[in-house]
């Protein structure tokens, strides 16, 4: 079963994603971080296969964290989950920095799982 780390400052999004991940049968949520800096620490301690990360967070934002994560850990696969996914420049920047995909909010369960399973 693939391990997933959720990174979002919103409690409600974290809960939604955890439920989708843990109910999938293919993935298990190994924790959640509230910002980019916590994500980098938890990537080290929890060693996830996949990170689902918001872009717009207080403290270290998602794109800054993405840059560090892919530099520090070549194996980890990062998917951005954000309300800003439909902004062309943000989407392109995330893919350029190494994100595997960008999921827009509001998201559907099937869409999230289809994208995670395709990794």
């Amino acid at each position: 079963m693939k391990k997933v780390l959720v990174v979002d400052d919103s409690l409600s999004v974290t809960r939604q994603l955890e439920k989708i991940i843990n109910d999938s049968g293919d993935f298990v949520c190994v924790g959640h971080a509230k910002n980019g800096a916590e994500a980098i620490k938890m990537n080290h301690t929890e060693d996830p296969d996949i990170i689902c990360m918001d872009m717009n967070m207080p403290g270290m934002d998602g794109l800054t964290a993405l840059r560090s994560l892919v530099m520090l850990d070549k194996a980890v696969q990062v998917v951005m989950v954000t309300s800003l996914g439909g902004v062309g420049d943000k989407f392109t920047e995330a893919i350029k920095l190494g994100a595997k995909n960008v999921i827009s909010k509001p998201f559907e369960t099937e869409n999230v799982l289809r994208i995670l399973r395709a990794l």
Binding site: Q16, N56, V87
Partner: protein
């Protein structure tokens, strides 16, 4: 379910890879000349003229094309010709993906149809606004209209939009979630909800039938998340309209019983959202 641009839709659908999308975007960047570059390529102005206009832009809030005309580097007719040529030669992302071999023309047609259907719910409707809000009117209308659309699609709430009112104080309510918009528009977006509406939002966001056992922190967070979804999609739709916006993370406000005062230098427009006799929901904009 969200506002998307075509390239993102294709990657999400697994129709193209992120890598081929980047190749196509690079081809677009090489092919699609900016206004100044196009005017130089058409022999109307020199590189030096562009640099002079860019320096003048530091003190004048004008678009480059208008400034080139004002400075006498371009005639109004030449500006029209440059813009027309830009449009006529523009390489769209779908065409670029075909050129880099990531899509066949037939597949492009199929996905364009699917994309139109996916985005059809987000075609903007007209919204009445105060007469003084006469700059970026379409973007303001879209902000209000997208709020209505998200209330229907994400929250599943039946409502009737009321006529806007201008206010110096935003009435008190159970809670307000707010988000600041910056860039081409400068405003604070606010959603004011009664306790019952807050629970309805929480049920929709958490996908739970009952939220009576949830604590205040998570209930408030769901309203902030809804505002985040609305504003993120507003930024995406605005970028399609050529309006650049940015957002900060949402915040929660608990207005005093006499209401939330509108800050100095801001005007407040309230859009009532009628959801039933016992509940109150209002969307407001504090506009600088």
């Amino acid at each position: 379910m969200a506002v998307k641009f075509f390239g993102q839709f294709l990657v999400e659908q697994d129709a193209v890879t992120g890598e081929s999308l980047l190749h196509a975007i690079e081809l677009q960047e090489r092919t699609n000349l900016k206004l100044g570059e196009m005017a130089v390529a058409m022999g109307f102005i020199t590189q030096q003229d562009i640099e002079t206009a860019h320096s003048a832009q530091l003190s004048k809030d004008m678009k480059l094309g208008d400034l080139l005309v004002e400075l006498g580097f371009l005639s109004p007719k030449q500006l029209e010709e440059v813009i027309a040529h830009q449009k006529a030669t523009h390489l769209y992302i779908g065409e670029a993906l075909v050129k880099v071999g990531a899509l066949t023309p037939e597949k492009l047609e199929q996905y364009l149809e699917a994309f139109k259907a996916d985005q059809a719910p987000y075609v903007a409707n007209r919204v009445e606004l105060p007469a003084w809000l006469n700059e970026n009117t379409a973007a303001w209308e879209m902000t209000v209209d997208l709020t209505y659309k998200m209330i229907t699609r994400v929250l599943g709430i039946q409502f009737r939009p009321g006529k806007f009112v201008e206010a110096s104080v935003l009435s008190s309510n159970h809670m307000i979630a707010a988000m600041d918009l910056s860039g081409d528009l400068s405003a604070r977006y606010l959603l004011s909800v009664s306790a019952g509406v807050q629970k309805t939002i929480a049920k929709a966001i958490l996908k739970e039938d009952n939220v009576d056992h949830e604590d205040d922190e998570i209930l408030e967070d769901t309203v902030m998340e809804f505002v985040n979804i609305v504003c993120g999609n507003v930024v995406a739709k605005a970028s399609q309209m050529g309006v650049t916006l940015d957002i900060n993370p949402p915040i929660t406000l608990h207005p005093p019983s006499d209401g939330l005062a509108v800050p100095d230098n801001y005007r407040c427009v309230v859009f009532p959202i009628h959801v039933g006799d016992d509940e109150v929901m209002e969307m407001a904009l504090f506009i600088k």
